[in-house]
């Protein structure tokens, strides 16, 4: 069993509590307009445009059965991101196929400096079996396990995964279903169901909303999400992370939204607190 790994960040201060190694898996089933890492959305189609563009000669054609695919030499790569910028398919040639054990081997070097791992994406729950096995290995080695998800996996159907997961950090892109479709292209029915389900199990570590003025009603989303979670706070306190939209990395056609000012973010944080959230983080 393998997953497509986009990158591994050895020390992360922004993917859950304490110091964690973050693993980013490739591929996503939403199409959020403000996505800041669109190169994690899809899988390479092998067009080869990036091979010619690479200034370091780190990309090349390699055999793939009877066909060919884009090969990548990390030793030559200068991480200029040219391949990502010119890719017309929201993919990256720097993806590596890895087993849970191979992924853990890249994490093990950081022990004992980290308290856990966070798997993100893309949408990491596209690989539930991989996650289950990877988290089991992490747990066996004393590491905590967090999932960063858009909430489109029906978690009820994966008790083995939840058994080895400390918590989920769940995106609430918009509370209103129509707005959610505008922001992401799909409905949020399952997201909300997961939100309540995970909270009821004490496995919802955090909800987060990216605030994009003009795209959807952030005030309503924060208010209603926080209110919905109120009954579950006594099981396990749930944080609300309010994230300011920033155009960095966003696809050109969507990069024109305004950046929210700190007054707006603070007022949203105030609303979350009013609705019973104990800890609100603004980023």
């Amino acid at each position: 069993m393998k997953a497509l790994v986009n990158k591994i960040i050895p020390f992360s201060a922004v993917d859950g509590p304490g110091n964690r190694t973050s693993v980013f898996l490739q591929g996503c089933n939403m199409n959020c307009r403000y996505c800041h890492n669109p190169e994690t959305r899809k899988v390479c189609i092998g067009c080869g445009d990036c091979i010619e563009a690479c200034p370091a000669g780190a990309l090349f054609w390699m055999k793939d059965g009877n066909s060919r695919k884009v090969g990548y030499d990390p030793a030559k790569c200068v991480f200029c991101d040219t391949c990502i910028h010119i890719c017309t398919h929201d993919a990256s040639p720097r993806i590596q196929e890895m087993t849970p054990q191979e992924t853990f081997d890249k994490v093990a070097r950081q022990i004992p400096f980290i308290r856990g791992v966070t798997v993100s994406g893309g949408e990491c729950t596209l690989y539930p079996e991989f996650l289950t096995e990877f988290f089991q290995i992490c747990r066996d080695n004393g590491l905590g396990t967090l999932i960063d998800s858009n909430g489109t996996l029906d978690f009820k159907q994966y008790p083995e995964l939840l058994a080895v997961t400390d918590g989920v950090m769940l995106d609430i892109k918009a509370f209103d279903e129509t707005e959610h479709k505008t922001v992401t292209g799909i409905s949020n029915g399952l997201v909300m169901e997961n939100c309540r389900y995970l909270a009821s199990l004490g496995k919802l570590y955090e909800v987060r909303t990216v605030v994009v003025p003009g795209l959807f009603d952030a005030e309503e989303t924060v208010r209603k999400t926080a209110a919905m979670l109120r009954p579950y706070q006594k099981i396990q306190p749930i944080r609300y992370k309010i994230i300011a939209f920033r155009p960095m990395g966003v696809r050109k056609e969507y990069a024109g939204y305004p950046v929210p000012d700190s007054n707006l973010l603070e007022s949203l944080a105030g609303i979350a607190r009013e609705e019973g959230i104990g800890k609100v983080v603004i980023i």
Partner: protein, 529 residues
């Protein structure tokens, strides 16, 4: 009368060597330059002039060969005595037993033991003005949390905090040198918590501050308050309490930059090997290990022996200073620090001479060569004995010196040069973990931290915990946007450096060192984590 007899006797016994009138006149010119300097304060002029007067002395029994290693231009200098002077009038670092002072008061200072918080703070402030050192300011101001905890409930919390704030401000404005160091921890105390809160608000350079940290002993909430304070004011740093106490016992302190020394003792002297310049003398790695390094180490050790002999047998310090007479310090708790700098340059030069590729901090073969050199220095130190270092088994303690403002192309201790740090912090820390264990009298690494970490201080604490499990000794962090920053082992305010740059004089002497380090040491260009 006794004193006069003593000095007469010494005059007869010590051969004070002649010096040339040319050197006298050159020194007179240097003194005049100090007098006329527009950027030195009065106190800084007096201290610098005293140094010049001392430089005319020639009383030490110097080892042959020292001159061409010590008194030569910076790019070939192999031994440096860090401006300790020619006739040491006091040990370099003095660590008074402030607990004894709080318990017994001082006859010389005409102070009874303090009875409440007001008296405790007042007594300490008086005492600090009478603790000499190489900088003329105390390099250790005490384990402030433990010293003040017995008095902290004498007043309500708001008033205690106000008093501590005034006390810390008084230190910053009168102990004009940020090598002055306070300790806190490892256990949590109310005084410790209030001191951290006060330091977070004051954002001052003085005093330097270390939290002695041990997982399981220091509670997380206390350590997290320390991290939060560090992200505001670049202090405290974190010392591996378990490691230090296993080497020096419970009664150790952290003083000056990050120096592990014994309470009620100190260090007679600190000299340093400039390893990069010793490597320049060598034909290859073998010549370095078999000839050049042993030759220079031997001369430096004997130079330190000569300095110590003068301090103990001739200077009269341990017979006449009230600190010794009243038992606040004990001669037999002193040791000396055998220092080194420039491991990075040394390794790079030697690999280049051998035609082997590899850079210190990046490649495993460079790390390995560094470790071999450290093993050799450690072995030398363990076989060299000095009769006045009983406190540390008759040996000096190794010290990774942090550099001085004039250093060019000399990296502190075993640090990776600024600009060549590994991309990932994990690789940087694992490299450090190979070297910290050699230095009971101090080493440390410094990491500027991205401001996003303000939201997640546990990130820093996790790194401290992991690092100490991996045998790192001492870590410092500061926020990349902070005004107070750690230069090498001491703290300076960026705003004060700017004042000095524009030609104004500034209160603290360490700001001058900070400006030099900014220009020569590129300390503002450290990789932000």
């Amino acid at each position: 009368m006794v004193k006069m007899n003593n000095s007469k006797k010494r005059k007869d016994e010590i051969a004070m060597r002649e010096i040339s009138m040319e050197r006298v006149n050159q020194t007179r010119q240097e003194i005049l330059d100090i007098i006329e300097s527009p950027i030195l304060t009065h106190e800084q002029k007096v201290a610098n002039m005293a140094g010049k007067a001392d430089s005319l002395m020639e009383v030490l029994d110097l080892p042959e060969g020292l001159d061409e290693l010590l008194n030569v231009p910076g790019d070939v200098k192999c031994i440096c005595d860090l401006a300790e002077g020619h006739a040491p009038v006091r040990p370099r670092y003095i660590i008074p037993d402030y607990f004894k002072f709080m318990k017994e008061g001082s006859k010389f200072l005409q102070l009874d033991p303090p009875k409440d918080l007001y008296e405790a703070l007042n007594s300490l402030l008086i005492f600090y003005k009478h603790v000499p050192s190489v900088t003329n300011f105390p390099v250790y101001v005490g384990a402030l949390d433990e010293l003040l905890e017995p008095y902290i409930n004498d007043v309500d919390e708001a008033q205690a905090k106000k008093l501590l704030k005034l006390f810390m401000q008084h230190i910053d404005r009168t102990v004009l040198d940020s090598f002055s160091h306070a300790n806190i921890g490892p256990r949590a105390t109310k005084a410790g918590r209030l001191l951290l809160e006060v330091e977070r608000e004051l954002e001052q350079a003085v005093p330097n501050l270390t939290m002695k940290y041990e997982e399981g002993v220091t509670p997380d909430d206390f350590a997290l308050l320390a991290v939060d304070t560090a992200l505001h004011s670049a202090k405290p740093s974190f010392a591996n309490h378990k490691m230090f106490k296993s080497e020096l016992g419970e009664n150790y302190v952290i003083a000056s930059c990050y120096n592990g020394l014994l309470l009620g003792g100190g260090s007679y002297t600190l000299c340093r090997l400039i390893l990069g310049n010793i490597a320049k003398r060598a034909k290859n790695i073998q010549d370095f290990k078999e000839n050049q390094l042993p030759y220079v180490m031997d001369i430096m050790a004997r130079y330190m022996d000569a300095r110590i002999k003068f301090e103990v047998e001739e200077s009269g310090f341990f017979e006449n200073n009230f600190l010794a007479k009243e038992g606040f310090i004990h001669r037999d708790r002193f040791t000396a620090m055998f220092g080194m700098v420039g491991m990075a340059e040394c390794v790079n030069i030697l690999l280049e001479k051998e035609g082997i590729s590899g850079r210190y901090g990046k490649d495993d073969n460079a790390t390995q060569l560094g470790v071999e050199i450290m093993e050799q220095i450690d072995a030398f130190n363990k076989q060299h004995t000095n009769p006045y270092c009983e406190a540390t088994g008759g040996h000096f303690l190794l010290h990774a010196q942090v550099g001085i403002a004039e250093d060019q192309h000399i990296s502190p201790g075993t640090r990776i040069p600024i600009g060549e740090e590994p991309e990932e912090l994990i690789d940087h820390l694992l490299q450090c973990s190979k070297f910290h264990k050699y230095f009971p009298s101090g080493t440390g690494d410094i990491f500027p931290i991205d401001t996003t970490v303000h939201k997640n201080p546990e990130f820093v604490l996790d790194i401290v915990k992991g690092a100490f499990r991996k045998d790192l000794r001492y870590l410092s962090f500061y926020s990349s946007d902070s005004d107070v920053i750690r230069i090498t082992g001491y703290l300076v305010k960026r705003s004060e450096i700017e004042k000095l740059k524009s030609g104004q004089n500034v209160l603290q002497d360490t700001t001058h060192l900070g400006l030099g380090a900014e220009i020569n040491g590129h300390i503002l260009e450290r990789k932000v984590r």
